[in-house]
Structure formats: C-alpha cells, structure tokens
C-alpha cells in the first residue's frame, strides 16, 4: 500500500462529488416550498384523494388527454361516482388556479419541466 494516502483522498473527493446534489441542497437549497391553494375554493373535494393525485396526476392527465382528444369522451367518473369534466383548464385550474403557486412549486424543485403549458393557457399567469 504505497499510495493509500492518495487513494483515500481520491475517494473522499469522489464521495463529495457524487453526493453533491444532496449536501448542496441541504446547505444552500433553501426551504422546500409546498404547493399552495387559494383560500376560497368553490369545491370542497378534489377529483381523487390527495395522495393519489400527488403521485399519479401526470398519468391521469395523460389518460384524460387520450380520452378527450382521441375518443371525444369529455366526462370522467371519480371513485365516489361523481362526474367530472376531463379538462386541465376547465376542471383542475378552477381550484388550482395559480400555476405559479401550485404546479411550479414542486416541478421547479424536482427539476421537472412538463410541457402542458406550452399550449394550454394558464388564465392567471402570463402563459
């Protein structure tokens, strides 16, 4: 073991670089911003439980896209049997009215860049 010093130093540098995203965010990342909803909501319930929406909203939106555009079916039935209009702008954005306060909070910190609003219009924002 002639070069154990060099190897150990190299390992330390390697470990520091690999874990860079973790410690950088812990040190300088700032607090995690949680999505915010407007205070006065017309609806009391979301179309599906929050935990499900948090994990699967993108899949649900994709299936809505397919059923509305490809098949022309515009209504979607929730688990409790309630009918909803399958529309990002006409259903979701009615409550989640502020894209900057809701969608963008998670998407920016997770580094996700969905293309929804390249075309769909956020009525409150500049988009």
């Amino acid at each position: 073991m002639h070069d154990s010093g060099k190897i150990l130093a190299g390992l330390v540098v390697f470990g520091a670089l690999v874990t860079f995203p973790v410690w950088y965010h812990a040190a300088w990342g700032g607090p995690l911003v949680k999505p915010r909803l407007p205070a006065d909501l017309a609806e009391k319930e979301c179309i599906a439980p929050t935990a499900y929406m948090r994990e699967h909203h993108m899949e649900l939106l994709n299936s809505w896209r397919a059923q509305v555009v490809r098949d022309g079916h515009r209504s979607w039935t929730g688990e409790n049997g309630r009918q909803w209009r399958a529309s990002l702008t006409k259903t979701c954005l009615r409550c989640h009215a502020n894209k900057a306060d809701f969608c963008d909070t998670c998407h920016s910190s997770a580094g996700v860049k969905p293309v929804c609003f390249d075309c769909h219009v956020d009525p409150k924002g500049k988009n």
Partner: protein, 254 residues
C-alpha cells in the same frame, strides 16, 4: 452427408415460411375499412353547406374567420409566408379551379369561405406517420396536436391547402388569448377541427354561429331530415375539386 444437408434445407425453408409468412397473412387478413377513412355507415356524418348567394350579400365580411381564429387562438404573424389559417376566403376560380369558366363569376364571384373539407377519403390522414390526424366516426378529420411531430406530410397531401404550419412560436402573435382553448407550439401543424369542442357542448361551429348572412349551415348528412340534407335536396351544390376522389364534405350551394 448429402441427405443431412437436404433435410436441413427443407426444415430451414419451412421454418422461414412459417415465421415470415405469418405477418404477411395477418396483414392481408386485416380489415381495410378501419382507420384510414372509408365512409362509415354510422349514425353521424357531420358536414357543412355554404350558400354562396347569401355569403355574397355581405361583401368584405370576415366574421366567420375572425370568430374562428379568435376562438381557437390562431396566431396572426402579419406576413403571408408564415400565415396560419383555419378558415379564409378565396375567389371562385381559386376555390373551384376545375369548374372555372369565363362567365362563372357573373353568377358566383366570391370571395367565399374555404376551410378543411373533412374529406371522406382524407389524404392527410393516409400520410400522417404518427396518427396525429385521423378521421373520427362522425366524419370530422381531427388533429391531436400532442402527437404532431411537424413533418408536414399532411400539408403536402392536402389538395386544399387547409393546413398551416407554425414556423415560429405562435403565442406572442395571438392578439386575444382564449384561455378555454390551447394554443399550438412552434413546429406543429394546425387546421379546422369543425369545432368539435363546441359540438360536444351542443354549440354550432364558431363560423356558423358568427355568420350574419346565415350562409353557413352545419349538420348531420346521415340524417335525411337534417337541415343540410334539406338544403342539398332543394339546391345544387359544388364541392371543391371532387375529381381528386377525396370526397370533400363542405358543400357550396350555387
């Protein structure tokens, strides 16, 4: 040895036939009527009848295209090279080049509204490599802008120039953004969808609703008692370039 080789070749040949022949057979056995735009005997066949005499009463009127373009966030780039249009006006000889003769303009001069003809045999649908455009069961030639890759084959295929391409980001060129309808992005083709979003809400297409002269009538050709069928019974209508075999479904009463 000779026997072995012969046997090997026989087995290899039969195996190749079985493996290679199966896809050929399935393709041949497939129903040709699905997907690529044969007339369906369904309950609905949406179409439009445009009364040219009524349209001519309002010379210089552009209410139909204004309403359509406002409704669907169609950008105005301000130059003909980049132009995006869903419905626009053409003179008689441009709209009906095959029916043109010197005295025709004495009867119908135009300009008249032209748009996607929602053909029964839409050539745009045949060439689209991603199925971003297809013919619905009710006859509307629909587009899925999510799927369009901007190859512009459909624009080459369409004999009516009904399709436009977004060479630039259209957002800054939309005067009045309608939040209820999406815009498109750079690199996407767009065209008239016969207002399928309005139809699903029970509304007439935007151009029909906006026409002050009541020159445009929308309806279901499969229903013999519909207004469009009545108009086609009572008058004689032209279609744009029917010789191409596209079976256009916008009818012009002359």
């Amino acid at each position: 040895m000779g026997d072995d080789r012969r046997r090997f070749l026989k087995v290899a040949g039969v195996t190749l036939l079985a493996v290679g022949g199966a896809p050929v057979l399935t393709t041949l056995a497939q129903d040709k009527s699905s997907g690529h735009g044969n007339a369906t005997a369904g309950a609905k066949r949406f179409a439009m009848v445009i009364d040219l005499k009524r349209c001519e009463q309002e010379q210089g009127c552009t209410l139909c295209s204004e309403a359509c373009h406002r409704e669907h966030n169609v950008p105005d780039f301000g130059n003909p090279k980049d132009e995006v249009k869903w419905i626009w006006k053409e003179t008689y000889e441009h709209a009906f080049p095959s029916e043109e003769y010197s005295y025709a303009p004495e009867r119908v001069a135009g300009p008249m509204p032209v748009m996607c003809n929602h053909c029964d045999h839409p050539p745009c649908v045949r060439v689209c490599p991603t199925k971003a455009t297809w013919k619905r069961d009710d006859g509307i030639v629909m587009m899925d802008w999510h799927r369009c890759i901007g190859c512009r084959y459909c624009m080459v295929a369409c004999p009516y120039s009904s399709r436009s391409f977004n060479w630039r980001n259209p957002r800054p060129f939309i005067k009045q953004l309608n939040a209820d309808f999406p815009t498109r992005t750079k690199g996407v083709v767009e065209k008239c969808t016969m207002c399928e979003e309005r139809l699903s809400d029970g509304l007439a297409p935007a151009c029909v609703a906006a026409c002050k002269a009541k020159a445009m009538t929308f309806g279901n050709l499969a229903d013999p008692n519909s207004e469009v069928r009545k108009l086609l019974r009572d008058g004689y209508a032209l279609r744009r370039n029917p010789g191409l075999g596209t079976l256009p479904q916008i009818y012009y009463l002359v």
